[in-house]
Symmetry: D5
Subunit: 155 residues, 10 copies
């Protein structure tokens, strides 16, 4: 818990950064894991996510929750925010977008383990949720439920 | 609070009754108000309501809540259930159906006052609620909020 | 706030009392208002209420909430419990039973004001709530909402 | 509650419609009020709303709720959805966007009365809500609370 | 996360499609799994479901939740909506309808694993829930609770 | 999901049936399992239950939830309702009544597995819950939590 | 918002203070109103309250909420805590204790206005709530609902 | 489910009993297990608990939940209530009191298994919860979560 | 809803700004009201507030909610965040800090109307809420409840 | 449950103690485990936590929950409060602070097992939660979920 974080120079935190025009253009910033060697979990909740439907071109919205156990690096949260924002003009199916976000972070960051839950707003009265993980959680890792409310319609 | 309700002979309660084929075919059963002369409120909650969209023919669903202050008669609840069920193959817009149900009961039963809230399931991600009443509530009548949860999407 | 409540001798509190066989047999116990002259509200919530349907003989259940502003006396709560329990074998419609309980207490106790809400369990998928009060609440009396959850079905 | 809605020909409902590129390009579709002459309320909840911050260019998100009492026309819900979607690339402050949406609908549709609530996602840990109405609600109109949960942070 | 979904041509998405007259007439549309080879879960929540009671002919309502881990294909959501809508005039017991929907999708789509929960509205004051799965979940698959509220009656 | 349920002739469903005078007099109706051979769970929630205290004779109330995996037969829900209603004049301790209901159904129906939860209203400020099951759930059976709210007193 | 609160010397805050043996022995500490001349509301929530039943001697528990608009002084919160704790061995009826606490503070502090809500734990399955105020709230004072959950029993 | 409970003669149920002056003076009443030989769970929720802090002498409050699987006997609930009430003037640390109550019942009653959760009110803004069990639950015993809400502070 | 907000140059938004060392050092940024002439409400929720107790020097925490109807200007939200952050090392009583924040904004911004609610974390088991407004709300202004949950302790 | 806690002399409980200026200056007080030899869990919830961002210097807030199974000693809660308060002017990343608090307590107290959950307020619309434990929980220890609500944004 040292006060002098000299070894970390985030790309975006504390800076003005424009929204990347597509996921391909977004650069995620991986900084050294400040608790390297400890098995622990980091959770991001991102209720402000939107992309486009590849068939109709209409906007889609989702609440995303990302869980991972870091290895060498952690993902800096402002770069994650910009990456998620880069889907604003991207067309993709719910299943594809959700799993794709999880797998890109997993492939680039190489954490011990990663999980993503995508809770999409209803279309045709029926919401889709998508749940992907890189495998069973490592033994000894504590992974609480994501606890996102189930969809209930009205009444 | 007499045990012998000899003066009330419901049409449907305790009987097997087929679903009317349309609202026009449904007959509501108005029985004597057992507390005539008292100003009080009766509330029905009907979370099992469905009709059809007049443009697309697709099913619509709603949670309805009906409040009224009776005068000479009250509406028997099984006949109300059958009346609401008669909308199953009826085509109508949300606004029209909700206000129409309220106005039919108001016109036929002639209560002191009546209110209907229609809480429809989302279409295009946007639910519609419809609220009609026959006028300001009579002075001295107690009308609690209907308390139906607002729509929240996901997250 | 005297410790010596010598002037109050409840009929039932601290005694074993059998359930009256009918509402007519139940005797409500009205004891002196310990804060006579103050305008205040007493609320009872009674989620354990059951009576019988006069048409089918089947059991009905309700959650009742009673509010009143006392004048000379207050109703002792154990006698209220026994009175409510006396409806166990009584046949009555929801509207009749609810308003009848309120009016009996109002007529016998003569409070400044009284209100009853009856929240009945669904029959045919549709619950009935009944709301009666003896008139508009007296000016200066504080009457919070009863706050009983609306019926929501499933989901 | 007629089954033959011949007099209404929605522009978008049942059609494929592209998202307008800006609010200025969006055309709202006002159709005849099916219950003209009745004083009632229509509520739309739109939890899928996004625009851009005029200073930073970053996305903003909001949950909008719109209430109005129609006069000659009602707004068709699919055209409303497209209008709201047209803010996707629009830059505006929370206060300006919320009140502006309400006032455009009020000016174009000329309802008896209109109200809009904008519940924005937090920035800097502090969410902004914006509430505008065209005046006090007309006497006799029933306007339930919008009932959107207050922001609570964590814990 | 490619923008060009050329390999998927949904039967219904973006089209006007009439409601099939019976489950037998409904054709489910299975499209290629966009993340084939990944073990993940897709969840649909369908709070707008209705069928008929085979004994009384009265309408039944349910909130359904479907979970599955795809193999070669995924089910397109609009075709699922139409399939569920096709039960509108179908007579079936709660247990039969719920398990039958799950087994039809399992037999036709041949996913790695599938689960369905049917949360039916109360009849006689007692709701029935039905839970079926094709076997124990595959190791490494993440399956959150469906989280549908238990039935509570009133109060 | 056949429409013609000719093989099932329920004793009570669609009939008027009087309440049995005691549990011993109640006859449960076991009908053929419509999905025989499938391992699945059926849940009944019964929030309208009342019996009598064997020591004081005062009414007791409970919310019961029953889960079971059927084998040859399922229990018809109206006969279950009548059986539960037959406890209205029965005297029994909370533990005895709850486990007894579960064991009677288990002994008569011979399901693969059965569980009952009894959530009793407080006495002396302390509610009792009783949980019994016929053994560990069979492998591959999906048994969600019953999810009944814990008792919280006030505040 | 001066940093130097020299004019206030609380009796108890920051001190070790023994619990008074009875309400009569408790001394409430009234300190100068730091915003004298402003019309505003102070609310205390006290979920840790207990006294004794004057008939049975058994413990009673309550959740109390106190609202007032100060005039010359405010009540220091630690002295309030000790005053409430002094009821631990005091015998009193729910109605008497609740109104008595409100009236003692009103008489001693002489605020512009005061309100107390007492939310007692159930006895015989029926909780009592008591609501007293010194009169209608002064015009221009903002008094939000106390928002204490209604009692719901089980289920 | 026999009506004649001749073998059980509770010490306190249906009697007037004074509060024991200390835990040492309290006598718990263990009566024959009415379902001896069945593996089942009994849960008591006791939200009305108070003791004293051994350092400051100030009152402490807790919500306790006790779960156990009986063997030869069960604990009679009124004697449990009196035992818990006997802590009113007892000084003890949260950890000590909670575990001590569980261990005393375990030692005296010798159940198959026992668990206690103590949910204490905050001190210094930080509540303490204490969780003890006599060992891992026996195989085949069903033990639902106690489901007491986590502490959330404000907002 | 113009895209070119040239007339507004916020001091802090989009900039790095250090936390002011005291409220006296904080400069609030008032920018032109973008909807001048419209009567509407702006609400800020600030769950991240902390100051110091003037007697003990210990940290205090609060959840603040601010409502106002702007006149010539609105307060820029980042400057509000910095102003609230400036209380971090400020000593003040709950009542004083809450009302003081409201009055400073009212005096500097001169809105049509302003209201502040301060929901403080418990001390001694008793939280304090403080509610101030500049007067009765102007006629025609819509002011929803702040809807912050009441404090409930445990259980 | 002895009344004479002579062997424990807390450093801070019942004393006035100044806030330590940094975590390094804070001294945690470990007192003898009053139930040494029993395997049980102690949970602290600390919703009043704040530190500083090492990059921007802006305040951060968190709700922390700490669970541990003690061995020789337990941590005295007032010393824990002061330790947590010592982060007020400490700069640290969310991950580092959360895991660091858990590890310091684990290293100094040497419990059988320890877990910490840090639920941080959102930054850039995205909250971070951090979950660390010293290993898998010991067999036979009961560890309920921490049950902190997931972040939901608005709506
Ligand atoms: Ca792209
Ligand atoms: Ca028709
Ligand atoms: Ca939809
Ligand atoms: Ca949301
Ligand atoms: Ca009778
Ligand atoms: Ca529903
Ligand atoms: Ca524009
Ligand atoms: Ca068919
Ligand atoms: Ca209930
Ligand atoms: Ca019997
Ligand atoms: Ca006394
Ligand atoms: Ca002792
Ligand atoms: Ca909070
Ligand atoms: Ca200062
Ligand atoms: Ca409580
Ligand atoms: Ca430091």
């Amino acid at each position: 818990m040292s006060d002098t974080p000299e070894q970390t120079h985030p790309l975006h935190l504390g800076q003005q950064s424009a929204l990347p025009v597509s996921p391909e253009d977004a650069v995620l910033d991986y900084v050294p894991n400040p608790r390297k060697g400890s098995l622990y979990l980091i959770r991001f909740a991102a209720p402000e996510f939107t992309s486009l439907c590849p068939v109709t071109g209409q906007p889609d919205f989702a609440h995303l929750v990302l869980d991972y156990a870091p290895e060498e690096t952690i993902v800096e949260s402002k770069s994650l925010k910009l990456f998620l924002g880069s889907f604003r003009n991207h067309c993709g199916f719910h299943e594809d977008v959700t799993v794709g976000i999880g797998q890109r972070l997993f492939d680039e960051m190489k954490p011990r383990w990663l999980r993503i839950g995508g809770y999409w707003y209803p279309r045709g009265g029926i919401p889709i949720d998508v749940f992907w993980q890189s495998g069973s959680p490592p033994e000894g890792l504590w992974v609480p439920d994501q606890g996102v409310a189930s969809y209930r319609g009205r009444g």
